[in-house]
């Protein structure tokens, strides 16, 4: 019965994504404008159709699909983190991995972007502009690799500081400390790299305005890879939900599989952060929302959390563009406000139900 319910939920979330994508391509600096009409009726007004094609295919569609991709990656990372650390508050942001990824991007920009740097000079000579806005595949891959490295290091640092995953409060405190310290280091790097500062400020607030087809394609590829890897490792998460001893007694080689899951978590987080900057709470909220709708195995939960994260960020991104149009609200600010409220509500509910740290 739960399997059928999960299938219905996947279908509903995918349908919601299609509808939100249709809405998303119609919302811009002028608020809502129906671009789908001219797009699908080229005979009526060829000029309007050409303009609609340009706006939709060059700007809004990659951005809207990119929002789904980043949300899906963060939702997946959240589900993996919560299962791996058996902690309902684990999320890429709270574990410090998003801050680590951001530091990785800042370091990469400082190393590659400065015209004085060797890498930067050679890249400028080859005509490749290095910035968070770049659509070059190599720049995007470089930023993603740097973000991945930063995310891995941040998770490992959090685990070392919290001395394992058993103690919820210690894990969260360690994650907060790592996040704050790495955030400060990011600012320090930017202080010495003023040419990257302005773009990175927008990046630190979280925005999908950097996303073009290259970034969207990269996120889609990584999402397929991470979802496949997470699905292959889902049994480990199910086993771990019964405790370490039981999981080990079932013959699961926990060490290498945990390392692989940390890799999935870091790759998903790093890729999302490298394309859209810091977007908080999507990774926390998506798995929780799924769990409130259906109780299911880790393999289904991860897919559902992914679809939920994608739909959430797509909706938030459209809202962020529309709320104060013609100005644009960074979507990371909106998710932080909404997600923070959601986290407080979760904590209030867990206190009311007498579930301490369990949420």
């Amino acid at each position: 019965m739960n399997a059928r319910r999960a299938s219905w939920l996947v279908a509903a979330l995918l349908l919601a994504a299609v509808l939100l994508a249709a809405l998303g391509v119609c919302v811009g600096s002028a608020g809502f404008e129906n671009l789908l009409g001219p797009l699908f009726n080229p005979g009526l007004d060829p000029d309007a159709t050409a303009m609609a094609q340009q706006i939709v295919f060059d700007i809004r569609l990659p951005r809207t699909l990119g929002a789904w991709g980043a949300g899906a990656l963060l939702g997946l990372a959240g589900a993996v983190a919560q299962g791996l650390f058996r902690n309902p508050l684990a999320d890429p942001f709270l574990l410090g991995s998003a801050s680590g990824a951001s530091l990785g991007v800042a370091l990469a920009l400082a190393a590659m972007g400065g015209a004085g740097g060797m890498l930067g000079a050679s890249m400028m000579n080859s005509g490749v502009a290095v910035s968070v806005f770049s659509s070059s595949v190599w720049v995007r891959l470089g930023l993603t690799g740097a973000a991945f490295g930063g995310a891995v290091l941040a998770v490992l640092l959090t685990l070392v500081l919290s001395r394992g995953v058993q103690h919820t409060l210690r894990l969260l405190l360690a994650g907060v400390v790592v996040g704050v310290v790495l955030g400060a280091m990011t600012h320090l790097v930017l202080l010495f790299s003023p040419e990257s500062l302005q773009a990175m400020q927008a990046f630190m607030l979280g925005s999908t305005s950097f996303v073009g087809w290259t970034a969207a394609g990269l996120m889609a590829g990584v999402w397929v890879l991470c979802t496949l890897a997470a699905w292959l490792l889902a049994r480990v998460l199910d086993g771990l939900s019964l405790g370490d001893a039981t999981a080990r007694s079932l013959g699961l080689p926990l060490g290498p599989m945990r390392a692989a899951l940390v890799g999935v978590l870091a790759l998903a987080t790093g890729t999302a952060v490298a394309q859209t900057g810091l977007i908080a709470f999507v990774g926390l909220a998506a798995p929780h929302l799924v769990r409130s709708l259906v109780k299911t195995t880790s393999s289904r939960l991860m897919l559902l959390a992914s679809c939920m994260g994608g739909a959430l960020l797509m909706a938030a991104d459209t809202l962020a563009r529309w709320l104060i149009a013609p100005q644009e609200l960074p979507v990371g600010v909106l998710t932080a406000v909404l997600g923070g409220g959601y986290l407080l509500w979760l904590m209030h509910r867990s206190t009311r139900l007498g579930r301490g740290g369990g949420l």
Binding site: R86, G243, A245, T246, S249, L250, K295, T297
Partner: protein, 279 residues
């Protein structure tokens, strides 16, 4: 790897097994052999090291010395084969609240399944048998988070039974179970032993432990006695390890442990009560 070792080979052996937590020694070089097709209960006062011994013998805890399963040192067993032969039911472990009763029980079949293969008909049959044995079949579609402590314990027991292992290790399996379901657990264990399986349990309920074939009596990280439950020497060892605060007696053909009032505790309580009355 032989799946059917000679019958006289012990199911599980501890050879000079030691466990330390930091500077504190919890187990002191324990050597022990547990016979096959028998139910052995490990008993002793709080802090005796019973659960630690069971976990170390299952290879779930770093330890010195060797644990031997069906004649083969534990580290020599490939992970999956070992998991097929040795089933574990722990106490106070995390329980996947989001998983359904069926999913939790099916986890017991993991050692029998290739990595990505779906559950076979044999897996389905084993899970159904286990759920029916623990009377949890009717809740198979419910999530674990919706169950009471006792119901949850029965599902976790079903998960351990679904492994269909030769050796079952259970740490406090009666936690949260009401008396009728404790009796059901007893019937399940006795049926398993009749099938030739070996059960080793850590129990606080001495009365239940006295239904076992053998008792291992522990105190302060050491074994003070191992013997048949009906043996008067075992009864004496049991009484001694609890400072003679329990007395083993026969009642309707069964051994029972009667708690005896502690002189020190009752004196202190009555002194305290009279002091507060006078003030």
């Amino acid at each position: 790897m032989s799946a059917t070792p000679a019958f006289n080979v012990p199911a599980l052996e501890a050879r000079d097994l030691g466990v330390r937590f930091g500077d504190a020694a919890i187990l002191h070089g324990i050597t022990l052999a547990l016979p096959r097709a028998r139910w052995t209960s490990i008993v002793g006062p709080n802090g005796a090291g019973k659960s630690t011994l069971l976990k170390a013998m299952a290879g779930l805890l770093p330890h010195s010395g060797t644990s031997v399963l069906l004649g083969q040192p534990l580290p020599d067993w490939p992970h999956r084969q070992r998991a097929q032969q040795l089933s574990w039911l722990g106490q106070n472990e995390a329980s996947g609240d989001d998983l359904t009763v069926w999913d939790v029980s099916m986890l017991g079949r993991l050692p029998h399944q290739a990595w990505l293969s779906p559950p076979s008909a044999a897996d389905h049959a084993a899970v159904e048998r286990a759920l029916r044995a623990t009377q949890a079949w009717d809740w198979r579609a419910r999530s674990l988070g919706q169950l009471s402590g006792g119901e949850r314990q029965r599902v976790l027991l079903a998960r351990a039974l679904a492994v269909e292992a030769q050796v079952l290790l259970m740490d406090e399996p009666l936690a949260n179970l009401d008396p009728p379901h404790q009796a059901d657990w007893l019937s399940i264990v006795q049926a398993l032993v009749r099938e030739g399986r070996t059960v080793v349990s850590v129990l606080h309920e001495i009365g239940m432990a006295l239904h076992a074939d053998e008792l291992v009596v522990m105190a302060q990280g050491r074994i003070t006695h191992q013997g048949a439950c009906a043996d008067p020497a075992t009864h004496r060892a049991l009484e001694a390890v609890f400072d003679h605060r329990v007395a083993v007696r026969e009642l309707d053909g069964q051994w029972v442990a009667l708690p005896l009032p502690g002189q020190t505790a009752s004196n202190e309580f009555s002194n305290g009560a009279s002091n507060s009355a006078t003030t």
